[in-house]
Amino acid sequence: MTILTLAKGLNEGLRRAMEDDPKVVIMGEDVGKLGGVFRVTDGLQKDFGEDRVIDTPLAESGIVGTAIGLAMRGFRPVCEIQFDGFVFPAFDQIVTQLAKMHNRSAGNVPMPVTIRIPFGGGIGAVEHHSESPEALFCHTAGLKVVACSNSVDAYFMVQQAIAADDPVIFFEPKRRYWEKADVDTARTPDALHTARVIRPGADVTVLAYGPMVKTAMDAATAAEADGHDLEVIDLRTLSPLDMTTVLDSVRHTGRCVVVHEAPGNVGLGAEVAARVTEDAFYSLEAPVLRVTGFDTPYPASRLEEDYLPDLDRVLDAVDRSLAF
């Protein structure tokens, strides 16, 4: 057992993946000597060389486009997008090429490309540094999308994503990079595309992922004081969703609140709500409620505490759910 920050968990996971498979290469802006602006790739270029930890030109479409070519040559590229808001120049390569290549090839071409994206707000940053674009990738067939929320998952999930033969968009909760946890690297991890009940409870199911997992857990603790017993699920896999775990929970609580930072409109919460309602209609005592960012551009950072879901807004939704 070692105590690792989430960022360090990722760093160790990447290191392990590179040791295990010489075809794993890391590429992105400032990932080399600097070790990435969040230091997630710290020390890797020093140890694995410039051919395997590649500082790229400042062009994200190029990062993903060349990663696709590297994958066709047999490599397993791990691309770092520096911040959520800078994935858009690469969007065409991700949506029209990366997501579709395997299908276009009738299964002949595996696409083991991992795209790491630090996402979400709460760090007092300027524009484009605090966004949550996961819904866009979930809507894109051919991609798999996951989000880690803690050091243990960070360590294991990044390795699992790299080992997968499909493209994985890997979201990292940037404001939790410095949170610590005990990581037992010898453990057998849960499968990548599974959700996890991280707090069993009887009254309301609260679904969260990435940075909102901690918020949901804090809410559960606070709700206890009010006599409400929340079941908290860390979704972990955003596409495909692990509906088995979600439905099991909602069927016994009868109520569901889903939380994310991204705007609500056509967000992942909508999908969860639609599916839960469709598959557990008679179990629901209340509609699935969403606690999300507002349907505005991400605001200047002095307003982000208002924009972002927090403990109180989760509790408010729990109360509203219980009032049905």
């Binding site: 030109p57 479409s61 190029g62 696709i68 090429q97 276009r104 002949n108 499909d166």
Partner: protein, 379 residues
């Protein structure tokens, strides 16, 4: 200041454009339109008679496939077809210049390169018929999948070349793209990456003068081969209707790339003789005179004249070749008509390397749903 003073406007088409097809001093040529061999200080070629004949055979077969495909589209067998008419020399010359383990990344029009890489023409027809999305194994043919989003494949080619640098391969890569594509951000990013990493990739631009209805001057105001100089690597223009010149120039570029000299840009100056695709009507935007002028530069004719003049082939060679092409066309036609549609549930098969549970559920439900109609019919 007005607009348009300083660039050719569409209204000036006739006057301005016809000048651009005159013999071009900037361009490498080894065979004149009349089939005369000419020398070039930087490029030489000397092939066996059989090799010369082989190139001609390629040109003929490729054109026959193309003509047959166009006919099949007219007959309703294909949804659409993107003809390579006029570009056979650019494709065969570059395709044959590749070593077996060199890799090519095509657009949607590289039927001639596909031929050189042994991709079954029937599979290409399938793509335009709508039975597949490509589906060949790029590794089996060293030929990437057809790429429709303009320019994307140039980055894949560059990444692949970076892979060669990393695994110690001895091969090089060709990225095909069009004159229109030169405007895309991706193509220019590919130039940046290739230059910065000195990657063994040849950017092969078939400048066929048109991007659907848009003439070259909507993409650039200087010759395209000069784009490379802005990124710090050499560019060259070659007569794209001269299969020998294209072969020589591409081979030299590939050799350079293989020996660590980094990227090259080749502009094969040619002409799209047909419509953009069978859905297009080029009479709306270009003049018959232009087409006529280019017809005199036909890539097949000049190679045929060369073979005749140099007495490299007997009449029987030409006759046999015609018969072979007829056979190919006949077989292709039959096979195309018989090509079965894929079965509905196949669309779920390759979305992912596995089929995630929710997708499997979707597939199974749809299977049951489809089955219910069969039952209804049975009842």
């Amino acid at each position: 200041m007005g607009i348009g003073d300083s660039f050719v406007t569409a209204g000036d088409l006739d006057a301005e454009r016809l000048t651009t097809i005159n013999p071009d001093p900037e361009s490498v040529q080894l065979l004149t339109p009349e089939g005369e061999r000419v020398e070039h200080p930087d490029y030489e070629i000397s092939l066996s008679d059989a090799e010369y004949c082989g190139l001609y055979r390629d040109l003929v077969m490729v054109r026959r496939i193309d003509v047959e495909a166009t006919a099949l589209q007219r007959q309703g067998e294909l949804g659409i077809w993107a003809s390579l008419l006029g570009q056979e020399a650019a494709q065969v010359g570059s395709g044959r210049a590749m070593a077996p383990d060199d890799m090519a990344f095509p657009t949607y029009r590289e039927h001639g390169v596909a031929w050189c890489r042994d991709v079954d023409p029937l599979v290409l027809l399938g793509l335009f018929r709508g039975t597949n999305l490509g589906g060949w194994d790029p590794r089996a043919h060293n030929f990437g999948l057809y790429t429709i989003v303009i320019g994307s494949q140039t980055l894949h080619a560059t990444g692949y070349a970076m892979g060669i640098q990393r695994d110690g391969g001895e091969n090089a890569v060709i990225a095909y793209f069009g004159d229109g594509a030169s405007s895309q951000g991706d193509v220019n990013e590919a130039f940046v990456y290739a230059a910065v990493y000195n990657a063994p990739v040849i950017f092969f631009c078939q400048n066929n003068q048109w991007a659907i209805s848009e003439p070259l001057d909507r993409q650039t105001r200087i010759p395209l081969y000069r784009r490379a100089s802005g990124f710090g690597f050499p560019g060259v223009r070659v007569d794209g209707n001269d299969v020998l010149a294209v072969y020589a120039v591409t081979k030299a570029a590939l050799d350079d790339a293989r020996s660590g000299q980094g990227p090259r840009l080749i502009e094969a100056y040619t002409y799209r003789m047909g419509a953009h695709t069978t859905s297009d009507d080029p009479t709306r935007y270009r003049l018959a005179a232009e087409l006529e002028a280019w017809r005199l530069k036909d890539p097949l004719e000049r190679m045929r004249s060369f073979l005749y003049k140099q007495q490299l082939a007997e009449k029987s060679f030409f006759d046999d070749l015609d018969a072979e092409a007829d056979d190919l066309a006949r077989n292709l036609r039959r096979a195309c008509r018989e090509m079965p549609d894929p079965r509905p549930l196949e669309m779920f098969a390759h979305a992912y390397s596995d089929t995630p549970p929710l997708l499997a559920e979707q597939r199974d439900r749809f299977g049951t749903y489809l089955g219910s109609f069969a039952e209804e019919v049975a009842r």
